[in-house]
Symmetry: D2
Subunit: 375 residues, 4 copies
């Protein structure tokens, strides 16, 4: 780890000796099953570097993303807030250039972005897929937005419930935002930013057909906010037709995202349902059930999500656990028993559960079926 060498690359570049311990530099996949017809891109589209008020060199954002199992990131340094400019180049296009060069060898897609950083309204807006960040650094925010639009940017509204700009703790959709939405200039919104979740923003997204984002907005090294062993950073799952910057843009335009944060998946039912169905398998769906005897249904979950199930309606024929968590990467036991001494067979049975952490609206949990067959 010395002169002439990108330290963590050194491990590989200069140590041609045999090793036995687990390799330190490793990528851990995020296990969320794909949705038929799409490729899943795991992304974080809001982060900072020393080129604005972040604390790391742009290459680190790529390395962190690779290790965290992400496919894509956006560098979104502040346009108007450059606290380190006496020491670091104020060139607003540099952080992207540096990050992109680091992304290619690791196959991390780096989206060029910038954060329009103003008082409320409109607060902070991320402009992605821009071509020239410098050109966005203009006095009036309206002009910055207009320039971004000209560059073909995709713009979303950041941390609408951020306490400093929404002291009530609950954010507001200002007239300015509604106007941008009506114009088709503002297309998305963060419903999760770092540790914060904004249910009201989730509602606005559904109401105004805005694409949902969950981003880290990380400034420091990611490990200081999300240490190994604790919760992972927020992730925006993007359902693309091709794994490319272009593919990501097309999916944003079509609103094909799901937010994964703090063991919650939030987005449209069309994506949540297949994710659940691809994640969960009943290992022993067929068995006899006579009278009030008890049976154990083994349910395996291949994903990284702990699905929190709550019985949505009692079944006329059988008792089933009122609540159970389908643990990530494990198999659990769902207890069922006949309701009456007369119970015998019954054929196909669908047990209806609410999945408390799969939400298609701020108060709308997905309802799923656990299907068994009584012989």
């Amino acid at each position: 780890m010395r002169k002439f060498c990108v330290s963590f690359l050194c491990v590989a570049i200069f140590s041609f000796a045999a090793c036995a311990a687990p390799t330190l530099r490793a990528r851990t996949p995020v296990l969320i099953p794909d949705v038929p017809g799409y490729i899943t891109i795991k992304g974080d589209f809001h982060m900072h570097t020393v080129f604005s008020d972040g604390y790391v060199w742009p290459t680190i954002r790529v390395e962190e993303a690779w290790r965290d199992g992400l496919d894509a990131i956006a560098i979104s340094d502040h346009l108007e807030y450059l606290p380190f400019k006496s020491d670091v180049s104020p060139n607003r296009d540099r952080s992207y250039e540096i990050a992109r060069r680091a992304g290619d060898p690791l196959d991390i897609l780096v989206v060029k972005g910038a954060e329009i950083t103003r008082d409320m309204p409109p607060g902070h807006l991320n402009a992605l897929f821009i071509t020239n960040a410098e050109a966005l650094a203009v006095p009036r925010w309206e002009d910055a937005v207009e320039e971004a639009r000209k560059q073909g940017a995709y713009i979303f509204y950041n941390h609408p419930g951020w306490q400093r700009q929404a002291p009530s703790g609950v954010g507001t959709l200002y007239a300015e935002h509604k106007k941008l939405i009506a114009q088709g200039t503002l297309r998305g919104i963060e419903i999760v930013n770092g540790p914060e979740y904004y249910p009201e923003a989730f509602g606005w997204a559904n109401e105004h057909n805005l694409t949902m984002f969950g981003n880290s907005d990380v400034h420091e090294p990611i490990g200081l906010s999300y240490p190994a062993g604790s919760d992972r950073r927020p992730i925006t799952l993007v359902y693309v037709k091709e794994r490319s910057i272009k593919g990501i843009r097309e999916a944003f335009d079509q609103g094909r995202t799901v937010v994964f944060s703090q063991n919650r998946l939030m987005g449209k039912e069309d994506f949540l349902r297949p994710i659940f169905e691809q994640s969960v398998k009943v290992l022993n769906p067929k068995f006899p059930l006579r009278g009030t005897e008890r049976k154990l249904v083994q349910i395996h979950n291949i994903s990284d999500v702990n699905y929190e199930l709550e019985l949505a309606e009692d079944h006329k024929q059988i008792n089933a656990l009122k609540g159970i968590t389908l643990n990530a990467r494990q198999t659990v036991l769902l207890q069922v028993s006949g309701r009456s001494k007369e119970q015998s067979g019954g054929g196909k049975v669908a047990l209806r559960y609410r999945v408390k952490n799969l939400l298609y609206g701020p108060r709308e949990p997905l309802v799923v079926s656990i299907n068994i067959e009584l012989l």
Copy 2:
């Protein structure tokens, strides 16, 4: 957890309330890919209960196996050593009966067995698939073995290197064993017992065509020997044609086992090679390589094994890392670079690595290829 209830079942039986925390009672799969043409049974075929000198009730062995991701166990209480007999029934068939009833609802296959426990020679022998353990409790070990044979038992030699019976630390294959082997009465051998590995026994297995076993020989609750977070118990992987007691027996007879212990897989090349090939995938196998430039090959490993690779031979055209561990459930980077300024393209390249922890003999690591294509 009270009167009238099998404690850990209670959690489910009596709590019909909603829950959010991960479910405590859960099964963690052991991720070893299947081998084409066979079903993989994960088993532990040597363990004890309070019915000999173990410290748990037989049902616990089933619960532990289920949680540990096993498919099959054998209860193998000592025939001659019953230290608790003043308090616990000396009936040598009881522990199996109790365990089997607990196994059925969890779909754990329970093999009836007993440990013939004598001084060396022959030391300790496990007789599995027996029908009557009591009948094996006879003064002469030769008669016990003969009775087991009559019952159609499958017999293997336990912990041949166990210090108390092999003070040199290295075991011996006595004339008595050789005779039993010649007769076809002794068919298998433990090359791993609990924390101990016996390389010499591995050699005998290959020489005399004995089926290899790796068992825990656990006496206390498994968690006291293998706490969560530490190394898992030894496992005997059995390659069966049907998931049943009968299927296990047929696989034992045909020697279709692999031992998994302390991050080592030991067995026949025919099984080790497909396990490795099904575990590991090169994510970006095709790329250009010009001159001495460096490239990163991303290798993903879906298994629970950390494969420890060591370059077996230098490649004429490219430099590759001399040593790398392919971490379990992660992706790592294999560094390659051209050897000369003239390097350009080259088509298919097979990098040959020794996998230090995949052994088909005590000193015979498997050699594998990491295949890439230089454009």
Copy 3:
């Protein structure tokens, strides 16, 4: 781990070879500071073995307690419920005898007990410090209690809110209990049993001056209910004058216990306050504070408790964090700042916080001071 040897003892007894890995058989202390004038005994006074409906041999309860950092346990097998009696001796005094012999070499104090196991009322009662368990196995529960009393037993009421006997989920103090309390025969109560906490029982304890207990009531191996890395079992902290069975009894008689469960400490203020004060230290209590500047107060916590603080009252002079958790075995930063531009010095300042998880009543959190001095 074989014939003639208490398996987990073997590790030490028979392996006289050098080792480097951490020792497997180890005791992890429970870090709760002592209270001036007393020795702290960490105990679990309700557990089962194969001699009633438990699943482990009595020696295991001692080994588990030693590893878990406990000083004392009570074996409390059911008197009336012996589901394994066709296989295990029904002698109700055996489990204690076996456990005690295992306790001595490990310096674990083993209290002789039994669980009087009846329908409600009176439900289940633990009788500790008895001399003859067999004599308690009589038809009428009143006679069992009377016999226990004659033997000088200390009797407490088990899991008063257990759903099967308190279907409402909330328990009741029946006339039978009140009578026993009035007689001075029923002296204590479980406010925590395994994963369950009974706030109402906490209230009864205060109202009727009953000694509080938090016990595991474990039936299976402790690791199946409390795996390494998850929450630890409930512990009853006993404040004794001498570390002995006699000392424990005297402390029970005087009501000197605190219950530690799920990061809560519950008991009398006289014990909670010194525990907190001995746990927590302000590392930099003295500093200047001018105007509205911010300062960081470093607070170190040596205990295993994460103290959850909530500002109880605003301080006239300075702003302090409204909420902060003082992490177990770590140092955290308490942010303070002047309220006005005129702020300057001010001398001793006591910041008043409610500790949400230190309770001297079901709804009575302890209020503490964090003391600093403004120069």
Copy 4:
């Protein structure tokens, strides 16, 4: 985590809401007992920032050090290697200025330093306690060293075994180094740098009376090299008379350091012995031992070091375990037994063990006594 705010400070500064989860921003102490007569400073005196070829802002080095339980760091950016100078100010004094301002509120001592970065000889030298880094950026390394000397610098030799400058893998002490040592200009040496340990350098330190250092030389965020849960970074323990920059310098001058890395403590016996003696306590030192009976000696270790003991000499009277690891923060059992049937009492017994990971020379493990008394 946004505009106008040092992100990880925000957690505290802007969230005045109540919290219950453990506080994210926390310091974990490094548990190494103090040595009588001195204060222990835990330091890392070699690290980089974006002002040379590191990847983080200088404030991050302070935050990482605070969380890792360190007391002091030195910023030691390369003088001659500034790969980011087109984007980051080449002012060699800036990284220290920025780090120092961050250190004060957290009470982290920040030493001003610079790395003289040349080909071998002399390779890389760290100059600490300098006053003007710019003045050291001169063409000839001899002049850089001379300027540092004039500024009153303390100079040590970095990673003498670093493969790139010592291809044999073993370093050399060149004539240039010997001359600087003879002059009293070169006073210390790294025997540990990041993951590398140089036994030969340890030998030179003893031979030439050089102060020993173990430093991280970290370039990326520390968590990428030392993730939570894995091994911690190397630490130089400094034995000071006062906790200040001046105190550190005085201790360096007097050679009062110990290196802690990968569970090894390396330094002078005068420090190693009290560290061990303050760490380890026999909980039950006095007991009778009759004939060949076995007893368990409970040994508690309060430190973060796993002491690896190996019996140094057999005791005439009793057998003791040949090898045992005294686990960090746990109690383990040392088995002893009488050697003969005649064994009875014997008074004070000192069991002599080599501590394999306490080294006062490359091949000199400390020998300690475990003292018991046979009644």
